[in-house]
């Protein structure tokens, strides 16, 4: 595409990013407002952060959410990587179409339907609702995202490397462990991060899968936001936005470096 700096492009980019970021900036600024009224500025204060840290209901919910997210994203990464491997490498097998359908369907399924279906399953098999059921539900819908991310990496990498390892006497498992896994590792890690964020973020599926004693943070936020804007929620949002921002920037720096390193390695390998 031609590179031309035009005022039109500059304006549309500026307006677009102002639209994307202004609401969050306002949210962050007003988390430091000393007034209970969220829309009237009354001076700087960090008291809402203090109140947030003393709010046991929020802390408990945060703990449940974190537990669910770590467990489900780890399970989802294992299952999703396996699924990606099967999709890309296992060749033809009976029921492959159904398999790929089941991997792609959850990506476009409305959350209300996935949540409802999950809950009805848990009730049908008599599983008590709680952390376990949220983990199962989150694993199922996030593993599909992991497998999409990992399979796009598996498709592009040179399969002859694996074959070489096998020819040189590796068992298939060794070949996977010492050749395939290191190559797809960045994709596996970003898959895990994606699954983790999706799980942290999910309200609808968790509302269906959760029992009375297992409220997640988004559920807690949702129920208090329904009553209106509150500075405590602003403080909580600010904390979550900063964690994500730091995380994304770090991840992108790391991946930039690892891509550069990989290129250098490949070039070195070509030269020798």
């Amino acid at each position: 595409m031609n590179r031309k700096f035009t005022w039109f492009n500059a304006t549309s980019l500026t307006l677009g990013f102002v639209f994307l970021y202004l609401p969050m900036i306002i949210l962050v600024i007003f988390s430091f407002n000393s007034s209970k009224l969220v829309t009237v500025w009354a001076g700087f204060s960090t008291k809402w952060y203090g109140e947030l840290l003393q709010n046991d209901a929020f802390l408990n919910a945060a703990w449940v959410t974190l537990k669910v997210a770590v467990l489900s994203s780890t399970l989802a990464t294992i299952l999703g990587t396996l699924a990606a491997y099967v999709m890309v490498r296992a060749g033809r097998f009976r029921g492959r179409t159904l398999f790929s359908g089941m991997i792609y369907a959850p990506l476009v399924m409305p959350e209300v339907i996935t949540g409802l279906a999950m809950l009805l399953l848990f009730i049908a098999i008599g599983l008590d609702r709680g952390v376990t059921t949220i983990v199962l539900a989150h694993t199922t819908f996030t593993m599909c995202y992991v497998s999409v991310v990992v399979s796009s990496r598996l498709v592009t990498f040179d399969q002859s490397l694996e074959e070489a390892a096998l020819d040189l006497g590796c068992t298939p498992f060794d070949a996977f462990k010492s050749v395939t896994l290191p190559i797809i590792a960045p994709a596996v890690i970003s898959g895990w991060l994606l699954a983790f964020t999706l799980s942290l973020d999910d309200l609808v599926i968790a509302s269906f899968a959760a029992g009375p004693s297992s409220t997640t943070l988004p559920m807690k936020i949702f129920s208090s936001v329904r009553l209106g804007v509150s500075p405590e929620i602003n403080a909580l949002s600010t904390l979550m936005i900063s964690i994500v921002t730091v995380g994304v920037i770090t991840a992108s720096l790391i991946s930039k470096r690892s891509i550069a390193k990989q290129r250098a390695d490949e070039q070195a390998a070509v030269r020798t």
């Binding site: 590179r3 988004p218 949002s237």
Partner: protein, 298 residues
Amino acid sequence: MNFRRLFLILTPYTWLLVFFLVPFAIVFKIALSDYAISIPPYTPQLDLSAGWEGVKSFFGELDFENFTFLASDALYYSAYLSSLKIAAIATLITLLVGYPVAYGMAQSSDEWRPTLMMLVILPFWTSFLIRVYAWIGILSNEGFLNQALMGIGLIDSPLTILNTNIAVYVGIVYTYLPFMVLPIYSALEKLDGSLIEAAEDLGCSRAQAFWLVTIPLSKPGIIAGCFLVFIPALGEFVIPSLLGGSSTLMIGKVLFEEFFSNRDWPVASAVAVVLLLILIIPIILFQRNEQKQREAGL
């Protein structure tokens, strides 16, 4: 066929069968059942202890009553229609907002692109709920938008935006904008600049070249972006329940309330089945578009 391969295939396969396909079978089954005051609140229940007779009477009692109920009750009918309308209009607005952003990104210099890309992706990683919540403070009667508009003297009394469909449109456009920008950007980025130069050399004005060359060549991106916004927007629950009002009818919200407030599981399941049937068409069209893209890429 060896054991290892079988194990490799069966692990994710079984998981998806048990936790994805079977639940949908259950939804279909309950959609054909009747509401009952019991635990769980539907009838008939499959009674395997009665043997073959039990299975037979179970299937005998399933019927399409809930679907006739959905068709006869104006609430559901208009909820589906208004969801389709809201999702379609919101998708169009997102396209109009997103295209110039994607275009500007594609035309920016190489050192800027990764940063702009990250700026578009960053909101996607931030909590959806928080991004919707941010608009409550902006759009409410005492909110920033009304304060600003009254401050510059454009209006005398606050506009009611929160709890109307307008707020729902704003919410959808805002939260789904990255889904529109990214596919259009990746289509525009691949576009060969010499084609536009050729069009201009052959006598097109810049606007004509844009309309006759750039837009058609970015069509796959536009289509992908539109589906990525339209499909999830159709079943959206969080945005209509936080930003919309009592008159905002969206099917995701109706389903949620049918299930949790009315505890009518069979009707909620039937609502889900119909929503699924409506979604199948755009989903298949979307898959075809992706397939075509992949084949064109090879």
